[in-house]
Amino acid sequence: MDSPSGHSNDPVPAAERGRGGVGLVDEPAPNPDDQGKNTARRRSARRRGDVVFARLSAAAGLTLVVAIGLIGLFLLIKAIPSLAADHANFFTSTQFDTNDPKNLRFGIRDLLVVTVLSSAFALLLAVPVAIGIAIYLTRYAPRRLSRLFGGLIDLLAAVPSIVFGLWGILVLAPAITPVAVWLNRYLGWFPLFATGNVSLTGGGTIFTAGVVLAVMILPIITAVTREVYRQTPVAHIEAAQALGATQWEVVRMTVLPFGRSGTVAAAMLGLGRALGETVAVLIILRSSAKPSHFSLFDGGYTFASKIASAAAEFSAALPTGAYIAAGFVLFVLTFLVNAVARAIANRGVAR
């Protein structure tokens, strides 16, 4: 038992064995004359196989790129006529009036504000909790409990978002109203907690939506961070333990620095989800005639919930195009978030 923790270099010989095995096709060829020809033919066949496989996988990869490109293109083509017919400023207007195709007035300012605010708030709530759960599951919990608890978290991801929406507005909103009232009363001078454009006690606010979104993105962030933390090399953990680090010090010295880029990537993944969440937000947020004040106690629509709310009326091309334009902005936004996440995750690998 010289490597009791199983972190010896065993996988390498195994991998080499595997690699050797690919080439070592049983050579029957007993006839010395045939042998040269035989292996040559086999080798060229394998090369052809390689080429076919390389092309196939390249094609598969390309399909994805093309699909994404086409989606973007489709959105853009459908949106451009409506954008040209827009009588309001697309980026700064708070209106979204598409009833009269001859006088379209729509802008994404409030959609952007509500989307970003609710998602950022959700992220702020979910990330620390997810990190805490991941640390608990990987470093503290007994193995059996860890598995049970981990499964439970994953189960949370399987709850339909419509259920989260109903729970959010009917159960959660009344429950957290006192907190919202308190924040508004004592910290109302701070813009985020200022009185919003919908009823505070009604609960149909970004505040409520953010909490629900936080619960919804918690599983994915937890699952990813948990996997990353689990990968922390045993050698680093033992180095810290041998210096007399307590469990928390081990986490601080090895697990968190090792998992930092993974944690960021997980958060970005969660953010992507929150930005695109539709039904739950649609159910929770109350609409308002007044523009947003950048307050958590505003109501309104996110990009996704706005589009969903109008889905029944997508008949005329021009009004529909207005919503597609909003969808395009959401598309770009989530694309950016994912690109940032990827860049951060790759930087972690390069190091």
């Binding site: 038992m1 050698a235 810290a240 041998a242 620095p257």
Partner: protein, 258 residues
């Protein structure tokens, strides 16, 4: 600073697997004690039991006692964390903290013990790096990552990190097995310097190394597959390598061992 270790009737287990059978041995202060024997004989396991690193593996436990200058490190009320702060360890593979600078690596243990003064940390970092014969090679790049060093330098960095907290005992688990001969020589030279200050216990597969660096040698063997490893004999290194008492020891050191 340098303390003696008395192992008494120590049995070591992984869950139900009995890994080491009833070891009794004494490790003298200010000396190098080598643990040798075939793979799987339990020498690394025993080493890890000496600073309570063994028990970080789920299900691992020991029976018996390990006395550090008369005090049982497995006694009730003794926390493994405090044991590990006074008994340092160097691992088979160099394992500096990759996200820390060279200097931060050296003083990591001191930071854990609450030493805060920058001047004090700088002084101890220099003293420890000098003690590990690494200072001249890294003094111009103390703020670079520890991962930027070569394997041999990383291992000396780990030794500097272990001695920075002035431990009573230094445990080394095959510290040269991942290193080239030059780096190995550097570490062996270092060991003979360090034994003036520390009690050193080293596990090695390299018998020449054991013969070169150690004062005492303990030979472990495995009676059979699935059976626990046991201490065959322990004596002065010169005696073990010239005229051991047991036939098994002689067979092993002369290479006549299966």
């Amino acid at each position: 600073m340098s303390k003696r270790i008395d192992v008494k009737d120590l049995d070591i287990f992984y869950g139900n697997f009995h890994a080491v059978d009833s070891v009794t041995m004494a490790v003298q202060p200010r000396s190098v004690t080598a643990l040798i024997g075939p793979s799987g004989c339990g020498k690394s396991t025993l080493l890890r039991a000496l600073n309570r690193m063994h028990e970080v593996i789920p299900g691992a436990r020991v029976e018996g006692s390990v006395l550090l200058d008369g005090e049982d490190i497995y006694g009730s009320g003794i926390s493994p964390v405090s044991v590990r702060r006074t008994i340092g360890m160097v691992f088979q593979r160099p394992n500096p903290f990759p996200t820390m600078s060279i200097k931060d690596n050296v003083v990591a243990g001191l930071r854990l013990q609450g030493v805060k003064g920058k001047k004090e940390l700088d002084e101890i970092a220099e003293r420890s790096l000098r003690g590990a014969n690494l200072w001249d090679e890294v003094k111009d790049r103390l703020n670079r990552s520890g991962a930027s060093l070569s394997g041999g330098q990383q291992q000396r960095l780990c030794i500097a990190r272990a001695i920075a907290v002035r431990p009573d005992v230094l445990l080394m688990d095959e510290p040269c097995s991942a290193l080239d001969p030059i780096s190995t020589l550097a570490i062996e030279d270092l060991m003979s310097e360090l034994k003036d200050h520390f009690t050193i216990v080293i596990v090695t597969h390299n018998m020449q190394q054991a013969a070169r660096v150690s004062d005492q040698t303990a030979f472990f063997n495995l009676p059979g597959a699935g059976r626990p490893g046991r201490l065959i004999e322990m004596d002065d290194t010169a005696k073990i390598f010239s005229n051991p008492n047991q036939k098994a020891t002689e067979d092993y050191i002369s290479g006549r061992f299966g």
